[in-house]
Amino acid sequence: MKRSIGRLPIGICLFICFFVACTKKPERQMITVLNPVGAPSPTPLIPMAPRLDTLEGKTIYIVDVMYPLTHQLFEEIQKVFSQKYPKTKWVIKSKAGTYFDDDPKLWAEIKASAQGMIIGVGH
């Protein structure tokens, strides 16, 4: 009889645990799910080109990527920088084709003739 009474609290505890587990709201249950998100392929870092020590005596190309109706911005950049940095040659160029197109000829010309480039702009 004494042994049966001693087991009673344990039985009650187990019942309570079972009751709580059964009645716990689904949203409070712990859950582990798979990650739905992927990842980009590893990208090799490209170290940036060394910067110029001065703009003086340098040729800088100002390149319009040919987004529609934005060429006036590049003309103004050329005017403003020519006034402010008269010892630098500021050359304005429009990329061939539309803003979707590559222009390897222009890039080759810039590599051969310039020391820096300003490029823009889109929209």
């Binding site: 990650n35 392929s41 060394p50 934005t70 911005l73 005017k79 402010k84 300003i118 929209h123």
Partner: protein, 444 residues
């Protein structure tokens, strides 16, 4: 060579994400006010002489610093840019996990099924392919590097969308196209997917009444999964970074997922996948890119093909909106989604023996209007004003009349798909361009 890139402030996220994807996460951008397009020279000068709207620094000084300020150690770094990925998310309450999915933009804003090991394992029974097999790759935007994904990763997203194992081969084929459903363009593009072959009936796809509406499981969940794959496995659909559609497109909720009603094709009209070189008994998914569907549901004594032609002229203002941009994206593609009743009439009463004949007739007879022709071809307008023929004589044509330039590229033409409940001779005319087809059978 040192470069000073200039971008308008509205596109900071895109510019920086693109530079990072090219391996230059420290690119020295200077931002100016948005937009520049069509602003006067005086306004542009103000932008240049003013401050960067994001940093508050003077634009001129930022450009000079971009060219001359010595590089930091970070800017000189080599190696790889990698984003580690865990297969499982941290254990939490279902409520918190659901919130995590919603707040991270991994869903379409609607309820999802959480992808537990058990559910994903069950989903994987829908294919014989191994969970770690690479299915394909997708680019977040045209300028960014690709993301690759496995069978299991696709299955996780299929579970979320409410798909069943039987849907998985079609979803894997869709993922294998490498095409995302949320193009990054500011123009709010949409995507469309069409399923052909025996699998249409095996999945009980809706090809009849309401095929393009919210009525059936397969059409809903396969199409919905495309959005999840795009966002989660292709890196696309991040508003402001890899998605810039100014309005967005409601079509993206299930990406116009439907099946062609092959059984109702008039004799001589081939199923779409057969037109693309597949065997009739193969199951195939085909994907398209576009913007708009124009509805025709009226009664008119004119022949249907003539009504279709007139509808399609209007597409020069839709997906072909870029035609207003000089030199950009000249010519587009057309699509007809037509009810079997219309298809039969086109064959029996208007003598279009095949889909190809109708497509050819429309390609040859839908032209730019003159006003758009001059907008799109400024060099021709210049020549016309200088008296150069044949352009000069075209100046006499009314702006709303046909130009010599066909709206649809002969290469892309007009694609035709037959579907619908045969309740009336109706159709949709749209500007969807065919992109790719992939066998579903290969992913069973």
């Amino acid at each position: 060579m040192p470069v000073a890139p200039i971008v308008t402030g509205r596109f900071q996220d895109v510019a920086e994400a693109t530079a990072a994807s090219k391996g230059m996460p420290r690119e020295r951008f200077t931002y100016i006010h948005h937009p520049v397009s069509n602003k006067s020279a005086a306004e542009c000068r103000k932008y240049i002489e003013g401050n960067d709207p994001l940093t508050g620094k003077r634009v001129i000084e930022e450009i000079v610093a971009a060219l001359t300020k010595p590089l930091s150690e970070e800017e000189k770094r080599t190696g790889f840019l990698e984003k580690p990925r865990e297969r499982l998310l941290k254990t939490d309450t279902a409520q918190n996990v659901e919130r995590q999915f919603l707040e991270n933009g991994w869903t379409d804003g609607l309820m999802i099924a959480l992808p537990t090991e058990q559910k994903v394992s069950e989903m994987l029974k829908g294919t014989s392919h191994k969970p770690d097999e690479i299915v394909g790759q997708m680019m977040p935007s045209p300028a960014q590097g690709p993301w690759k994904y496995t069978v299991e990763m696709v299955a996780v997203n299929a579970v979320m969308a409410g798909a069943k194992p039987k849907h998985l081969p079609a979803i894997l084929a869709l993922a294998a196209t490498g095409q995302g459903s949320l193009p990054s363009s500011t123009s709010s593009m949409a995507r469309m997917m069409v399923i052909n072959g025996p699998i249409r009936n095996q999945l009980k796809m809706n090809m009849g009444i309401g095929a393009l509406g919210p009525f059936d499981e397969a059409n809903a969940v396969i199409g919905r999964t495309w959005t999840f794959i795009t966002k989660n496995l292709g890196g696309g659909g991040k508003a402001g970074t890899t998605y810039l559609g100014t309005f967005g497109s409601n079509y993206n909720y299930n990406n116009l997922c439907f099946a062609e009603k092959e059984e109702a094709l008039p004799s001589g009209w081939k199923p779409f996948h057969v037109q693309k070189g597949f065997k009739q008994e193969e199951s195939v998914v085909s994907v398209f890119n576009g913007w708009t569907l124009l509805n025709y549901s009226a009664y008119n004594p004119d022949p249907y093909h003539e009504l279709m032609r007139r509808q399609m002229v209007a597409l020069e203002m839709s997906g072909a909106g870029a035609h207003h941009t000089p030199g950009v994206n000249i010519q587009t593609a057309g699509t007809l989604i037509i009810d079997p009743v219309t298809a039969r009439a086109l064959k029996e009463e208007e003598s279009f023996e095949t889909k190809e004949k109708l497509s050819q007739w429309l390609t040859e007879h839908v032209h730019f209007t003159m006003w758009n022709y001059w907008n799109a071809m400024p060099d021709y307008l210049k020549k016309a004003r200088e008296g150069v023929q044949p352009y000069a004589s075209l100046l006499k044509r009314a702006p709303e009349s046909d130009s010599p330039l066909q709206l649809f590229s002969p290469k892309a033409g007009v694609e035709i798909i037959v579907v619908g409940g045969e309740t009336n001779p109706y159709w949709y005319a749209g500007d969807f361009r065919y992109l790719a087809s992939v066998s579903i059978d290969k992913w069973k």
